[in-house]
């Protein structure tokens, strides 16, 4: 998919196509708010149980997702 799809006219509220991207924001919630997914000891990472490092990995992952949504929906003003 080309970068062009993110580019829109200057100003104004996001259109329906851009708004679709906001659904991505649900992904970090699903990834972190269902503890049975990650409430285990193994696999360990440098001695840290899965429970801890799995949740820590969601921090950069949610940053990435938020950046994608931001780029897709920003008002176009610099």
């Amino acid at each position: 998919m080309s970068h062009q799809r993110f580019v829109r006219d200057r100003g104004g509220p996001p259109g329906p196509r851009e708004r679709r991207w906001t659904w991505l924001l649900l992904v970090p919630l699903l990834g972190t708010l269902i503890p049975p997914i990650y409430n285990t000891q193994d696999p360990e990472l440098i001695g840290v149980p899965f429970f801890y490092w799995y949740q820590m990995i969601w921090i950069p992952a949610s940053v990435l997702i938020t950046v994608i949504v931001y780029r897709a929906t920003r008002s176009g003003r610099r």
Binding site: G47, W58, S62
Partner: protein, 544 residues
């Protein structure tokens, strides 16, 4: 006053850093300031002109408080995995706020709103609903400020400085420069605070594990401690009964975070919508620090740290300062302690400004002096910020610190009851002001009752034992618990919706709505939204 083995190097480093931020606090009045601080936009919102970098430091300094940095590891030290809820909590909050906060920013800029209650006044045309939102905000913020004092006190205890006088001095200084410089003071000090916190945390999580035999040994020590206790809810992993409690606490706390007036203050001080959105992507950097800090709780277990006992009660909040004291050379421990103490000043300043703005806009101007000039508003807020901080000191001096922790617990539950009015209000006018008022009252009553009805077997308290309500109270045959605030919010939503439907059926008229649909997406530079001077965005040089 008692000095018990105070380390001179540690104390000197601490005092130098503390003195440095005090000077910064006073100088902040002249920082990025075009006009005099004689109206509320300038004093209370820093001119509504903070770019991405400043907003990042300001909101980060605002949300990740000293108390968080002390209490989250203390929670892991005490109960284990359950305390790690702070990580998913600070992950899920930003995607949600990403959607909501720009709408609040736009409508507030368009109409000159300074507080969330201002918005409610304009949106629903209801003075009583706005007053309730303002009072809820003030009530939830006050104990939060007091908690910051507890954070400082934990550090001072670990340094061997006992007694209350240092806290009175620290808050006196804080009150003076907040009075003079307004929101610019914490914004400027936040740079120092965060640089120190990042430095300390990175050093701590790299250096301390090497001294304790690595993470294997650290988690093994924690596991050994928790398997030796009778409590079923502690452990390095979540017990089955704690799973729902963990996720509802993380989710509910995330919903509550940006309803606090001080979070709203940080958001409204941003320059434009994109500044807020960029920040929602960048703020999780603090969550990494928080997650690493949380593990200090286990490191304290492995290092054999025992909390300081005051008046016969162990104070778990002292474990992180004690760990630093134990592990670091004196000069670096001094830096670490200063980082925590300065970390208490930034949020305390912003919270007192936010509470003062609520007082001025929604009580003073609404009920006491309707024709207040901008200068009178600013003066009222400055004085109120002094009263708020004095109140927090008095609370700590006169009352059991446990009382502020209880109040803070209640604070989270009650601030959540403003969600239907504020957040749903940003999207829809479906709800009737009376419905929202009734829902707020019902949610508050339900929340207070459930908190009162929660014992804590570990500490032996009969009431206000924690933010988890057992589902067995509703007749379910289970040990599962759920975050109290979320249950109260469901009650609130049910009552708000039911009453609104009834009022609509009875064709009761709605209050006037001062806002229009486009107001919620308006950006800086558009008609009615003040065009702001072009300054180089993004570059750290804007801190000039």
């Amino acid at each position: 006053m008692i000095f018990a083995a105070v380390d001179a190097v540690q104390l000197t480093v601490f005092i130098i850093l503390f003195g440095f931020v005090t000077v910064l606090g006073f100088l902040a009045a002249r920082w990025r300031s075009a006009k005099k601080l004689e109206d509320l936009d300038e004093w209370g919102l820093g001119g509504r002109n903070f770019g991405s970098w400043i907003t990042w430091f300001l909101v980060g300094g605002d949300l990740y408080t000293a108390y968080t940095f002390v209490a989250v590891p203390a929670l892991l030290f005490g109960v284990g995995a359950l305390g790690f809820f702070a990580v998913p909590y600070t992950i899920v909050v930003y995607p949600m706020v990403f959607l909501v906060a720009p709408r609040l920013w736009s409508v507030s800029h368009k109409h000159g709103y300074v507080t969330p209650a201002d918005f409610i006044r304009g949106r629903f045309g209801s003075g009583s609903l706005a007053l309730m939102i303002a009072l809820t905000g003030i009530a939830a913020t006050m104990p939060y400020i007091a908690l910051q004092l507890i954070g400082i006190e934990a550090v001072l205890k670990a340094m061997g400085i006992l007694g209350h006088w240092p806290i009175i001095i620290a808050f006196g200084v804080l009150a003076a420069y907040t009075y003079q410089s307004g929101l610019r003071a914490p914004a400027l000090i936040a740079f120092v605070k965060d640089s120190l916190i990042y430095l300390v945390v990175i050093v701590a999580v790299i250096y301390i594990p090497t001294q304790l035999g690595g993470f294997d040994d650290i988690f093994a020590a924690a596991d050994k401690k928790f398997s030796g206790t009778p409590a079923p809810t502690d452990g390095v992993l979540l017990g089955n009964a704690a799973i729902l409690g963990y996720s509802t606490l993380a989710f509910g706390s995330a919903l509550a975070l940006f309803l606090y007036p001080h979070s709203v203050t940080g958001v409204l001080a941003a320059r434009n919508r994109d500044t807020i959105k960029r920040n929602m992507a960048a703020l999780p950097a603090y969550s990494i620090v928080l997650g690493l800090l949380a593990l200090l709780g286990y490191m304290a277990i492995a290092a054999g740290i025992e909390p300081i006992v005051t008046d016969g009660k162990p104070d778990p909040n002292t474990i992180v300062p004690l760990l630093f004291d134990d592990m670091f050379p004196a000069w670096f421990a001094g830096i670490a302690f200063a980082a925590i103490a300065i970390g208490a000043l930034v949020p305390a300043a912003i919270m007192s400004i936010a509470a003062a703005n609520l007082w001025t806009r929604n009580i003073y101007k609404e009920y006491l002096n309707r024709d207040a000039t901008p200068a009178q508003e600013a003066r009222s807020s400055k004085l109120a910020s002094l009263v708020v901080k004095a109140g927090a000191v008095v609370v700590i001096l006169l009352l059991d610190p446990q009382f502020s922790i209880d109040l803070q617990l209640i604070g989270g539950v009650i601030i959540l009851q403003t969600l239907p009015a504020i957040v749903l209000g940003l999207y829809t006018r479906f709800y009737h002001a009376w419905g929202l008022l009734a829902g707020w009252a019902a949610g508050l009553a339900a929340g207070m009752y459930m908190l009162y009805d929660t014992p804590n077997p570990t500490t032996g308290k009969e009431h206000f034992g924690g933010p988890q309500y057992a589902l067995s109270n509703f007749g379910f045959d289970t040990k599962t618990t759920v975050y109290t605030g979320l249950i109260a919010l469901l009650v609130n939503l049910a009552v708000s919706t039911a009453l609104t439907l009834a009022l609509r059926a009875a064709k009761r008229p709605y209050g006037p709505d001062a806002t229009e649909p486009h107001d919620y997406v308006a950006d800086a530079g558009e008609p009615g939204v003040e065009a702001l001077p072009a300054t180089p965005e993004e570059a750290p040089a804007t801190t000039r």
